[in-house]
């Protein structure tokens, strides 16, 4: 069972109180972009065993979207953070590095 803390309410939410929103920190490529860039944006996703960044929505609560950093193989949660950022904040990256030295995810490390 996955328990994520909503950064807006500060409550520990059970997975079943949340909606999963898929991979985090995607850059949108819309009209006018190249076919390759659009394909990347639309279809290509990370599927790591280990460190992963996701979007979640506190559906049975405040209704807000937020970000979560977690380990897909151990279900350890490194932290949750605001949706209003385009990359994982420093404290989250440091929390991951403390547990998984040398981790990489897309362009983040």
């Amino acid at each position: 069972m996955l328990i994520l803390k909503c950064p807006y309410c500060g409550v520990a939410c059970d997975e079943t109180e949340l909606d999963a929103g898929g991979e985090a920190h995607l850059t949108r490529h819309g009209p006018g972009s190249s076919d390759n860039a659009f394909e990347e944006y639309m279809f290509m996703r990370e599927n790591p065993r280990g460190v992963h960044f996701e979007r979640w929505r506190h559906a049975y609560g405040c209704g807000k979207w937020f970000h979560a950093a977690r380990n897909t193989s151990t279900l350890e949660v490194f932290g949750t953070y605001s949706a209003q950022v385009i990359e994982p904040p420093k404290d989250i990256r440091e929390a991951i590095s403390a547990k998984v030295p040398g981790w990489r995810w897309r362009d983040f490390a």
Binding site: C9, V11, A12, T16, E17, G61
Partner: protein, 190 residues
């Protein structure tokens, strides 16, 4: 003017806790930016209640103001006064980005009353929320899920909880609470 009726007309059930549909309850959804002091000050002046801190509520006279999200408050007041509250808020907050809507008839409210442990146990059977007293003390609002539908719950006192849900699922929530409080089914966890 038609006669207002609550979803289940005050139905009640008696198990190891008493479940009662709370009848007509006035509820007003207020949305706005808590970071805007003008919004906070005007809401406080208009309602006579301070904007509550995260997950908390403020109480005064017949009204309660509940923190529902970083930009949503729920005012609980006498049913007949909800429209007047909306009128006062809309007039007083004109020019300040906000929303105030009377949602009384879109909601149902239940009272769950019994022993302190019984109240927490009946609710904990239905919700994944951590309902220990150290996590959900009296007066703190928890929005969560009761079986398959959203609900907001809070304890008015150790032996009395309030449950608010959408009116369309009032019958479902009443049946859930009735079933969860069946005598002899206490988990005896709390």
């Amino acid at each position: 003017m038609s006669e207002a009726v609550s979803a289940l007309a005050g139905s009640s059930a008696h198990g190891f806790v008493d479940v009662t549909e709370a009848g007509l309850v006035g509820m007003v959804t207020i949305r706005g930016d808590y970071g805007n002091t003008e919004f906070r000050d005007k809401v406080a002046t208009l309602l006579g209640l301070n904007v509550p801190d995260q997950r908390q509520m403020t109480t005064g006279g017949t009204d309660k103001l509940l923190w529902m999200s970083p930009d949503e408050l729920l005012l609980v007041c006498p049913h007949g006064e909800a429209d007047a509250r909306v009128g006062a808020l809309s007039a007083g907050l004109s020019g300040v980005h906000h929303l105030a809507v009377n949602v009384s008839d879109a909601r149902a409210a239940f009272c769950v009353k019994g022993t302190a442990s019984g109240v927490r146990e009946a609710l904990a059977k239905l919700s994944p929320a951590d309902l220990r007293a150290s996590v959900l003390p009296v007066g703190e609002v928890r929005r969560t899920r009761l079986a398959q539908v959203p609900a907001a719950i809070w304890l008015e006192s150790e032996d009395r909880a309030m449950v608010v849900c959408f009116r369309s699922v009032a019958g479902y929530v009443f049946d859930l609470l009735t079933q969860a409080s069946k005598p002899g089914s206490e988990p005896r966890y709390f």
